[in-house]
């Protein structure tokens, strides 16, 4: 089978055939962006469905099973309902920022998707500072949350947004440092090169002990970064209503909701790329069929998404002070020591390579 997976180039070459090069490249980018938007809007909806099903199984329930076979169209129906709902707002809301906030959140999470190597060459944007780009983009989303909480003119929304600020900015450090630990192994920030180095064994094996510690720290910090339980200080149904999106309804609410699930996918996808060899199959069993890489990538990512759901439905919630204690007194010092250990391992060449 010979499917051309390099979509950006394929589309651009096809467009150059009948229009000038400048127009073709801009149009090509737009088409790729639209394809990604369509795919991940639907994928986000199915992540919501997966979350609800997994939650149901953890709680010995059945989950949505009425709309379509096995409830497959449940979230589609929900999305249609949200589209048709009225967009409400508070009287003294800061209208401009209030309307802008959801787009900040959804656009920042969609932008991060561009750099993932779903399989060899199936990567919209192979930037040479990939990891850095991901860390930077994922912290832009918190601006949207802060704006939403501030402009809603609602005390609960503001408290939720401020908590989000505290939480995201703290845990950003751990995400960055744990990814940096792995960058010591790869020697490159470019995602395609990180995948190349993993052909000698996934990084979590290459780096053994410090890599496993880095992975654990990354998953904890990643769960906190996406504002999911047990770190859902931001939405805190029990004490803050719905937190920063209390005043949002309809499609604007849906953007926040979708962004949360796409963020979860992104966190899992970064972990897949950096720790588990992205699209590489275990022991290279399907190396001859390049398009199967998509299957491996999505499979590994969904396993990690499942792990995050498992966290959510197992652990009790933390208080704000416990949240900050965990980050500043435990994760951060461990992470700093871990980087030193990893540096020594790389320096003495103690990595495991096949």
């Amino acid at each position: 089978m010979n499917i051309s997976l390099n979509i950006t180039e394929t589309i651009q070459e096809w467009l150059i055939g009948f229009m000038p090069e400048g127009v073709a490249s801009i149009l090509g980018m737009s088409i790729v962006a639209l394809i990604y938007l369509a795919i991940f809007a639907v994928a986000g909806l199915y992540l919501v469905l997966l979350e609800r099903k997994v939650a149901a199984w953890f709680q010995l329930r059945i989950g949505p099973n009425r709309v379509g076979y096995w409830g497959l169209f449940q979230t589609m129906a929900d999305a249609l309902k949200l589209v048709s709902k009225e967009l409400t707002g508070t009287v003294k809301a800061d209208k401009f920022l209030y309307n802008l906030a959801p787009y900040f959140v959804i656009i920042s999470s969609l932008m991060a998707l561009a750099v993932f190597p779903f399989t060899k060459e199936f990567q919209a944007f192979d930037i040479n500072i990939g990891i850095f780009f991901l860390i930077a983009i994922s912290s832009v989303g918190v601006i949207g949350i802060l704006l939403a909480g501030w402009s809603s003119n609602n005390k609960f929304a503001l408290i939720g947004a401020m908590r989000s600020g505290v939480q995201t900015i703290s845990y950003e450090l751990s995400i960055g440092l744990s990814l940096l630990t792995m960058v010591l192994l790869t020697g490159s920030l470019q995602l395609s090169e990180i995948v190349e180095t993993q052909k000698e064994g996934w990084l979590i094996l290459q780096g053994h002990v410090p890599a496993v510690i880095a992975f654990m720290i990354y998953m904890i910090a990643g769960t906190a970064e996406t504002n999911r339980a047990p770190f859902d200080m931001v939405e805190a149904e029990s004490e803050l209503g719905a937190g920063f999106h209390t005043e949002y309804s309809g499609m604007k609410f849906a953007y926040f909701f979708l962004a949360e699930f796409i963020n979860m996918f992104i966190i899992a996808a970064i972990a897949t790329t950096v720790f588990f060899g992205a699209w590489l199959s275990p022991f290279g069993i399907t190396e001859s069929i390049p398009w199967l890489g998509v299957f491996w990538f999505l499979g590994k990512t969904l396993m990690l998404v499942f792990l995050m759901m498992w966290f959510r439905w197992t652990f009790p919630r933390l208080r704000v002070d416990q949240l900050l204690t965990l980050e500043w007194k435990y994760l951060l010092p461990i992470n700093l020591v871990n980087i030193v250990i990893m540096a020594i391992i790389v320096w003495l060449n103690l990595t495991i390579k096949f």
């Binding site: 997994v54 149901a56 199984w57 953890f58 709680q59 010995l60 329930r61 059945i62 498992w310 966290f311 439905w313 197992t314 652990f315 435990y330 461990i334």
Partner: protein, 158 residues
């Protein structure tokens, strides 16, 4: 060194929790407790102690066990039970005797407290397990518990 042991116990307890929920996840197929209600109407059986509504069981001879003592009427805190009674001649002994004409039960007033059933000395009224009690007209919620033509079972009053 409590710092390191804290981390160790922390991770250990978290993993214990995850193994518990993981077991639930794996066995959820067998143990799903959800009742898919309108679909399983024919097989759904409510629990014995479920309080649906008060009924008066009758046997095959159309006989009930209510002596008309009115203890249930007195026990009811909000007047859901109303007993219309009369005196007549007992055919067997020839003495004057109290018997019920109508045992009226207002389901719309009932709070399912169960005091009437506890008060009943002859177990004439019991809980039924039906729960689909909604009607289009509230007059249908006023029920006469004893069937027309029924009489008290012989020997209950002794």
């Amino acid at each position: 060194m409590s710092y390191i042991s804290d981390i160790y116990t922390g991770i250990k307890t978290l993993l214990t929790g995850m193994s518990v929920t993981g077991k639930y996840f794996l066995t959820s197929r067998k143990g799903a407790i959800t009742q898919q209600y309108p679909d399983n109407r024919s097989t759904l059986k409510m629990f014995e102690r479920f309080r649906g509504e008060v009924v008066m069981p009758h046997d095959e001879n159309n006989e009930h066990q209510c002596t008309g003592c009115q203890k249930c009427e007195l026990a009811c805190p909000n007047g859901s039970i109303e007993i219309i009674w009369d005196r007549g001649i007992d055919e067997a002994t020839g003495k004057k005797k109290k018997f019920i004409d109508k045992h009226i039960y207002h389901l719309g007033l009932c709070t399912m407290c169960g005091l009437c059933i506890e008060a009943c000395p002859t177990d004439a009224i019991v809980w039924a397990q039906n729960f689909e009690n909604s009607t289009y007209d509230r007059t249908q919620l006023t029920k006469v518990l004893n069937r027309p033509g029924s009489k008290v079972k012989a020997g209950v009053e002794d």
